[in-house]
Structures are given as structure tokens and as C-alpha cells.
Subunit: 140 residues, 4 copies
């Protein structure tokens, strides 16, 4: 189960090779992540108001074909796994006109409270656990 | 009286026209502004610790010739004027190899305290006033 | 006559003051400018294919109230004036929930051909002139 | 064998958590990579003039502790491996005042010619091969 989040490449994000600069893909992943949780009625703001934050601890990206400024893209976003106090999100950047996968990637986050202390899965907000149960099959 | 602050253009800051994206000039002005006050032994951190902040209220930039990724540039930085609770900084981006002015610009800032309330010039920290007196001839 | 273009602030664009970094407003203006011409059926790509480019020669921005990450904003975009080989676009960033103007700004562009030579207004593409005639009352 | 490249965090790169935004670490890696090759007298420009480019095909980053705006950091940069037509660079971001490793990461690049066709290791420019031989022990 995944959510497709539309992202509009911006001119400022191109580089002199004429493509979207590779570091900006993580901005797109963040936009997608936000859209993913919003899709389930659970915006970040609500998450924070319930005392949960998701700082990034690990990221990766594999670049297949460049993203051009004019490309119509979506980021196909899902939860890859939840293990202990960590959640791993997965992403595919897809050019909608050709259905090509331009890049894949992942970001791993720690569940922490507002004092940055780890929060165990069982202690999470029920609404957040419901989303995870619904989306993610690899949970330990 | 001015201070020349070296700034290194970064690849991420180029755009698909093959030049530094015009919005990034304000990042260079900020690096220059920081370097300017550091030059006078007055880093932002010290300013903040003395209860003064300088939020941006107005900016402008005039683009003469593009900055290329490989260009060696300095930002010639000065205080243009101080009026009431506002300070206006001026900048020239200069390619050091040819001494050409690639762009000029300005940023105007309010003197505020940590609660964002305006601070009158007379009430400023003495060290900051000394820098202004030394550098700036247009003070009202 | 103006066009309201929705822009979504991104987390990456915030700074440690907890607001959208002031330099990023020019990225928003660019997104708005693109949306403005697209609204009239004249995307940049078409413009370039007809041999016209609009490099930035001058920009300004006045900051009234900060933009927050969660803000719903539009950029109210118009053509302020056309003089000789230059076109000046104007922008208002408006928080849609409160109808407050958070910032105003402008960008001035030269009409140039693909070899960066100035193009006089009369020599412009008819479709572009039609948009200008429709939108802009200050034309010389 | 590694090269330590100094990078100055910029205010524009902070986010509303009060730390350097995680996507910007790849900009720092790029600055470090450029500095690494420059250290060996082989700037990118020379590389390109000899018909070699190094597009990014894969990246990763592990975040240990946040980078703050005021931090003095270096990026400890090396070549991790060269396999077939790919080179993997490795990075450690180190706070110089405390010698703590704040983050580790890698970027993998393809050797390609100016038409983006893969270039086998043996066919590379001698000067580039010399640097690789000197720095990298994992070469296949």
C-alpha cells in the first residue's frame, strides 16, 4: 500500500547539468512524507502536538534517470518497515507521463518525544499505530 | 569603509542556465554580512547574547553579469545607512580575477530585542554602535 | 488584473528562526511567475521555443510578517509595467486563511533572444504581447 | 588516506529544528568532493576538459548528531572503492572542536564521457588514475 504524492520541480532546484540537483531529491521525499501522513488524516503538526517527532537517522537514494524541470512527477511513498524505535519510509520518483521510475530511495526515522528521547512502538499514539498497521507488513 | 568577504559558489547553487540562481545571491549577502560583523570582532552569536537581533525587512539586488560556478568572488560589504531603528547594508559582488562588479544589492534590517520589539539606536550595545560609527557616514 | 498562484512552503525552506528563509521568497516568485504565464496558456517552454527568454535583472522584496511552514499561501502575481526591453512583475504573498499580505516584491526581466540580445517590445511574439496588453496598464 | 575539507554551514541551510537540514549534507559532500580532487591538483574543470564526468548514481547518509550553524566542521573525504565503471567516495563530517563524527555518508559515481557513455577504468585519464591508485586500496 502506497500513496502517490505530486511534487512540482522548481527552477531553483535545477543545476548546470540541466537536471534537478541530486541533493534536492530529499526535499521531494520530505514533501512526499508529509503528504503521505496527511493522506491518512495525520499531519505532522498533529503528530508533534501528541508529543511525537520523527528525526531522520539514515537516508539513501538511487538515481536511475534525471528529473527535468518540466517533468510531471509523483513520489510513490510507503512505510517499508518498523523495527523497535525506528520507521523506514520508501520512495519511488515516477515520471507520470511515461510511468518510468526515475529514482528510488529511503529515509529512516527514530520515534522520539519532544525531549528527543526514544519512544517504543507500543507507546505510540493509537492513530499513528493504526496507519502503520494498515500500510506496513514488515513490523517487528 | 567596507569589508571584502570571500564566498565560494557551490554546484548546488547553479541552475540550468549554467549560472548561479538569482535567489541564492541573498545567501551570499548573508554570508557576507556575518563575515562583516565577525571582521569587527562582533559575531551574530555575541549580538544575540546581548539581546539584539537583525531581522530582514527589505532586500534588493541588481544583476549585471552572471556568477559562474568557477568564479572567484568576494562580496564587498558595508553599512549604507542607519535611520531610527533600521540599518541598511550594501553589497557588491566582485569577480576577483577581473575586478568586475557582477551584482549590487542591499538588505535592510530592524534592530529588535529577543521579543522582536524595536530597539532605538541609542539603546544599542556600545560595541555595535562603535562599529556603526566607524563604518557608516549616513546616520540619522 | 492578477493571477493567484498557490505555493506550498517546504520544510527545507524554513530556517532556525522557525520561519521561511527570506532568500526563498524569490523561489516562490519564480513559481508564481511560471504559474502566471501558464494561466494564460503560455508556458516558459513555449516562450523559449519562440526564441524569447526573460533573465532577471533586478529584484526586491519587502517583508511584513513571516511565512510559517504550515501557512496556506498564494502569490498574487501581475505585470507592473513594460518599458522598452524590460518587463516588471509584481507579487504579493498572501496568507489565504487571514487574507494578510505577508510580503510584497518585484522582479524585472529583460526580453532577450536565445543569444541574449535584447528584443524590442514590438518584435515580441504576438501571443506574449496579447497577455501583456490584457494584464498591464503601464506600458511605454 | 583522506583529505579534510573545511565547510562553513550557512544560515540559509538551517531548518526550524535549529539544525542544518538533512538534505543539505549532500551539498557539503559535493563541496568536499570538489576540494578532494582540487587537493590533488585535479579540479573538476580539468576533468571535464579531459572528457570525464562523474554523475551521481547512489548516495547515503547516516546522521549521528546534528550540525549547528555555528559548528566548525570538516568533511573527511576519501575514495572507498573503484569497481568497473564506478567510484565510491566516503565522507565523515567532523566537528573540529570536539573531534566528534556528526555524520557519515557515501556517494557513488559513474565514469562517463561527455556523451554520458560509460568509460572503463583503464581508459581513464592517467592523472585521475594516479590519484585513485594513491588513495584507494579497494580497487577491482
Amino acid at each position: 500500500m502506497y500513496v502517490d504524492v505530486k511534487v512540482e520541480p522548481r527552477y531553483a532546484e535545477t543545476d548546470q547539468m540541466g537536471v534537478i540537483y541530486h541533493g534536492n531529491y530529499f526535499t521531494y521525499f520530505e514533501v512526499a512524507r508529509t503528504g503521505f501522513f496527511k493522506h491518512f488524516g495525520y499531519p505532522y503538526k498533529l503528530m508533534e502536538s501528541r508529543g511525537i517527532m520523527l528525526p531522520v537517522v539514515d537516508v539513501s537514494c538511487q538515481y536511475k534517470k534525471p528529473i527535468l524541470y518540466d517533468d510531471d512527477i509523483v513520489v510513490r511513498t510507503s512505510i517499508a518497515s518498523v523495527k523497535g524505535v525506528r520507521i523506514k519510509m520508501s520512495y519511488e520518483i515516477i515520471r507520470t507521463t511515461t510511468e518510468e521510475v526515475l529514482a528510488t530511495g529511503s529515509t529512516t526515522h527514530a520515534f522520539v518525544d519532544l525531549e528527543l528521547k526514544p519512544v517504543r512502538y507500543k507507546a505510540l499514539d493509537e492513530a499513528l499505530k493504526e496507519i502503520i498497521e494498515k500500510v506496513c507488513s514488515h513490523k517487528e
